[in-house]
Amino acid sequence: MDMFDLSLIWALIIGFGIIMYVVMDGFDRGLGILYPFAPDEESRDVMMNSVAPVWDGNETWLVLGGAGLLGAFPLVYSVFLPALYIGVFLMLAGLIFRGIAFEFRFKSHRNRRWWNRAFCWGSAVAAFAQGAVVGAYIQGFNVEGFVYVGGALDWLTPFTVMTGLGLMCGYALLGATWLILKSEGHVQEWAYRITPVLLAAVLVVFAAVSLWTPFVNPDVWARWFNNIQLIWVLPALALACAIWLWSSVRRRSDGQPFVATLGIFIFTYLGLVASKWPVIVPPDHTIWDAASAPESQLFLLIGMLFVIPIVLTYTAWTYWVFRGKVKVGEGYH
């Protein structure tokens, strides 16, 4: 397989899957985090109805990513999961409760409060765990040879707590701007009001993470500061998106806040990738070290190239079918 760099192709596929998952499952998780703060039960109905048709499809990217990692980059799979053992459990428990809450809340009357709580806590815990994973990735792992040798809670440091809280704020922002897009009346007005607050929180955390990261990891420091590079374009674009978000909320634009938030996420994500590339299991292992055998990568690639367009088409179709505003009292029970 000299003609193609299969590891590179797989890195692109997995990288694409991760950002798809982060933004798509991010806004529905954000709504879960915002759930207790919603003005009334009516708005909660609107919030849940706005994501009900799509959340299940959003999570397919997580499972696809997990399985794809085992197939294409087993080292990532066999280092990240042991290192993040407790965090992975918390994330899965959160996702399970959230998924069940989605289904049963609509069908419940007396028990609705409990499903509300399950939805909120499940979303919050899963979001925090994923943010901590990002932080742990920046920190790097205690790896000897190809085996994780660190402790159970190495991943839990002040730095990862901050990235965890940061991602919770980020998801909440994504959720709020999604709600602006999908709602109207007093629900939308509430979403407009909280968006600048969330944006401020996100900017504070992102700034703190950006300043802190070079000190947590010297390689990242070198990447950013040794010589001024093109890499600085990415945070600049993220900041530009933040300004765009702020002004579009002031103008009470419907769709632009969500698009701007997507921009913040995508450019921050690219910035993170650029800080580490091509290292995939920090501190030392690159995508080529972490790869499975070429024949295995190729065997799996054939199936993926077949199924990814179908999943994308189906996803796009679902979003298209359920486009437009969710009205109060509308939707289904």
Binding site: P82, V88, S108, H109
Partner: protein, 470 residues
């Protein structure tokens, strides 16, 4: 007491996978049944088939949804607790397990939505096609999973280089020596499970005199199916056993409770295997019958457990008893199917309360049998994770401590207890609600539905409305 991460991880995997397995085992059989019902309606236009199809599709939706939720955990278990194994076997298992996920998604994206929500919105033929594709899809999914599992029992088509398996032949690895036996045995187990659940629920309705026509039809066809499948499963299981004798003789020895290599091995009905003393403390058996079954010769020599050193032996008592539970339930199933024929001849099949009540009682039995069967094959492989090539201890995550494993074991038990309670509670409500009256059956077709969420195909409320709010 020192907490053993190996034992706790094995317990955790057994718990998580058993919990998960309950759902697909049922949905595989049920998907084919739903396709059959849709096909019968398409051909005969008898509305009874349509009502049955709609009712069982609702049940299918809930069970499928529970299976998906519990399945997410499975895809992470290999990495969290068995990272050395994952890393070593990723070249083969990675693509195979990914293909399972790919199949499931393709199925969900393309056909599940049409089956669950397309009724009345797409032409009837298209709906039938979707039902058939979902049924086929469940088999393709189990194909990949059972291929991966069989490979761990009878590894083939790989080469171990520097501690990692490299695939030398995909065909040899995927269709490894025990694959077809396991696939057929498991497929039939799914059909038996689906058959007994449908028969039991139909009997429950008949006992209450609800929807008598449709439920009689369902019960009748189930019992014909079971009459063929239950004995056939015994034959297939026997072939599977012979295959195991060839590749994993120690497992068969444990199943038979046979410690020494010898001829004229009795078929033990009851025994108390004592692993420390390397013998059975008490035996009650039929002379030479095990030799006859396994070697077709009363004098046939069967390898004993003591062929391998004590530290390489599986836990004999567990394997021995799990095997007896599975086989015992198998014979019970055959008995019930035969009783059905006798009552049919007498014309009291739909009215004999004792028989109907036993059918209701049988609902849980196939699940017990399937789980017992999995205990036999998985515990019987111990201490090997990949038979003859990698032990459980070698495959374990090196950084895992007993405390971590205990924490997540308790955590998964707690999470699944809540999920299982909610799911089973809801499922019983769906079943109790029963079928729609014929006139409402038509109205369902007009509703606007949301795709992609299996559970929303059922409209049963989770609880009773609050008096003040309703």
């Amino acid at each position: 007491m020192e907490l053993d991460p190996l034992l706790l991880s094995r317990l955790q995997f057994a718990f998580v996978v058993s919990f998960h397995a309950i759902f697909p085992v049922f949905t595989i059989g049920l998907a084919s049944y739903i396709a059959l019902l849709n096909g019968l309606f398409y051909k005969t236009e008898n509305p009874a088939w349509d009502r049955l199809a709609l009712f069982w599709t609702k049940v299918f939706a809930v069970v499928f949804g529970m299976g998906v939720v519990s399945g997410i955990v499975m895809s992470f278990q290999f990495g969290t607790n068995w990272s050395n194994f994952s890393y070593a076997s990723a070249n083969f298992l990675g693509p195979i397990l990914s293909y399972e996920v790919v199949t499931a998604f393709f199925l969900e994206a393309a056909f599940l939505g049409v089956l669950l929500f397309g009724r009345g919105k797409v032409p009837q033929g298209v709906h039938l096609f979707a039902a058939i594709m979902v049924a086929i899809g469940t088999f393709i999914s189990s194909f990949w999973i059972l291929s991966a599992n069989s490979w761990m029992h009878t590894p083939a088509g790989v080469e171990l280089i520097d501690g990692r398996f490299h695939v030398t032949s995909w065909i040899a690895a995927i269709f490894n020596p025990s694959f077809w036996y396991r696939f057929v045995h498991m497929g039939m187990a799914s059909f038996l499970t689906g058959g007994f659940v449908v028969a039991g629920v139909s009997a429950w309705f008949l006992l209450r005199g609800r929807d008598v026509d449709a439920n009689r039809k369902a019960l009748s066809m189930c019992l014909w199916l079971l009459l063929v499948l239950a004995p056939a499963q015994a034959v297939v299981g026997d072939f599977h056993g012979l295959n195991t004798l060839e590749y994993q003789p120690t497992k068969v020895a444990a199943m038979e409770g046979n410690w020494e290599t010898r001829g004229n091995v009795p078929l033990l009905l009851f025994a108390l295997p004592d692993q420390e003393a390397q013998t059975n403390r008490f035996e009650l058996g039929i002379p030479s019958l095990a030799s006859v079954i396994l070697k077709h010769d009363p004098a046939g020599v069967i390898p004993g457990i003591s062929e391998v050193a004590p530290e390489e032996q599986p836990p004999v008592a567990i394997v021995f008893w799990a095997f007896r539970i599975m086989v015992g339930i198998g014979f019970l199933m055959i008995g019930v199917a035969i009783a059905g024929v006798i009552l049919r001849k007498r014309g009291t099949l739909y009215t004999n309360p004792l028989f109907l009540k036993s059918l209701v009682g049988m609902i849980a039995m196939p699940f017990v049998a399937v789980l017992a069967g999995w205990v036999v094959t998985e515990a019987g492989r111990a201490p090997w994770l990949v038979y003859g090539m990698m032990t459980h201890a070698e495959g374990l995550t090196p950084s895992l401590t007993g405390g971590m494993a205990l924490f997540t074991l308790i955590g998964y038990v707690a999470v699944y207890a809540v999920v299982f309670w909610a799911g089973i509670y809801y499922l019983t409500r769906v079943v109790r609600n029963g079928m729609l009256p014929e006139d409402e059956q038509k109205e369902v077709q007009g509703e606007v539905e949301r795709p992609k969420r299996p559970l929303s195909a059922s409209h049963t409320p989770f609880d009773d409305a609050e008096p003040a709010r309703s």
